[in-house]
């Protein structure tokens, strides 16, 4: 019998919007999904892709809760576009030049602190990000005390952006010596951002530095193969990828 006599707490979750303290002390919107019941759990910060804080990303957040983690997805576009629809918010932030790296790191730090403060937290927090969020997950794992990181096809961890690039992104390979936790990388063999060569370069550098990491590149998949609402979705790669993500977080975020 579960809480209130209604649910079996082995798989019951609760989800909804909360407000957390992000960079510069700003209150930002976030979507929290967490298991019910009294069992101790680890936490995961979900970094949304460039198209924003949308329904599929909230679904990812809920999915992680069903795996037994407290998961939170901060709305990185909260400040520029409070209350806007995800696509309008993404367009606004894109036109303004994107999310600055320093602010992103502090927003993730705020989300991680929120997770550690939840009842039932075991103190361990990981991060997962998709697309631009993959790069941001790597960045957060280099700058913050996290316990596990998953980079899903993040471009520009390796490789200079093309000349005249209007967004403020730079490669992060020089930060790799600071990587503080194991990294799981999920990539598509047909992707060019990041390309297989760039993934191989990151792999070599992390090996050289002795940083624990595990990379998987799926044949027949390109960018965004986890995105269930887009034509890039590849069910086999995504299904296998989710299994590995679950195992990875189980290994590193369990008490």
């Amino acid at each position: 019998m579960g809480q209130d006599g209604e649910y079996d707490v082995r798989d019951a979750i609760q989800a909804g919007t909360v407000w957390i303290t992000g960079a510069a002390g700003d209150e930002i919107e976030a979507y929290l999904a967490h298991p019910l019941g009294s069992k101790q759990h680890g936490g995961v910060v979900v970094i949304h892709h460039m198209p924003g804080y949308d329904e599929p990303t909230k679904e990812i957040t809920r999915r992680l809760a069903t795996y037994g983690f407290a998961a939170i997805c901060p709305n990185l576009y909260s400040r520029e576009a409070p209350g806007a629809s995800p696509d309008d918010a993404a367009a606004t932030v894109r036109a303004a030049g994107g999310v600055p790296d320093e602010r992103l790191v502090e927003d993730v730090a705020g989300a991680a602190a929120y997770l550690r403060g939840l009842p039932g937290s075991n103190g361990k927090v990981g991060v997962i990000g998709y697309c631009s969020g993959g790069r941001q997950a790597f960045l957060a794992a280099c700058r913050l005390p996290l316990d596990a990181a998953v980079d899903c096809y993040g471009a520009f961890v390796v490789g200079e952006p093309p000349a005249g690039f209007p967004l403020r992104v730079r490669p992060l390979l020089d930060e790799a010596p600071s990587l503080r936790c194991p990294l799981l990388g999920m990539f598509g063999a047909d992707d060019q951002y990041p390309s297989p060569e760039q993934v191989a370069e990151l792999d070599r550098e992390l090996t050289r530095l002795g940083k624990p990491h595990e990379f998987h590149t799926y044949e027949g998949a390109g960018h965004a193969f986890f995105a269930v609402d887009r034509p890039s979705y590849r069910p086999q790669a995504a299904t296998d990828g989710w299994r590995r993500i679950r195992e990875f977080f189980d290994r590193h975020l369990s008490a």
Binding site: M50, D88, A95, S132, P166, Q192, Y193, G222, A224, P231
Partner: protein, 92 residues
């Protein structure tokens, strides 16, 4: 891929969004994932008024061929009209 590339231009005119007409001040053009069009990538054009908030937006997501056809149509329409008739300095 996420191109991140965004080309922006100041523009003058009006657009009709979800809440009716509004003055358009900025345009963004980028080749990236669409929100709605059934393709992996499209040419996305946003007509915006940042001062009026994120909802002041007219958005289209076009295939490459459609975007180029639109460019050609704009040029053809302008070429068919007296020069300067739609200029900001036009006589009224």
């Amino acid at each position: 891929m996420c191109t991140y590339v965004t080309v922006t231009r100041p523009v003058e005119g009006s657009g009709k969004g979800a809440n009716g007409w509004f003055p358009v001040t900025d345009a963004s053009v980028y080749v990236d994932h669409p929100t709605h069009a059934p393709y992996a990538h499209t040419v996305n054009i946003d007509f915006l008024n940042p001062a009026a908030g994120p909802g002041a937006r007219v958005a289209v997501e076009l295939t490459e061929e459609s975007a180029l056809a639109l460019v050609e149509a704009i040029q053809a329409a302008l070429a068919a009209a007296p020069a300067g008739i739609a200029s900001r300095d036009q006589r009224v």
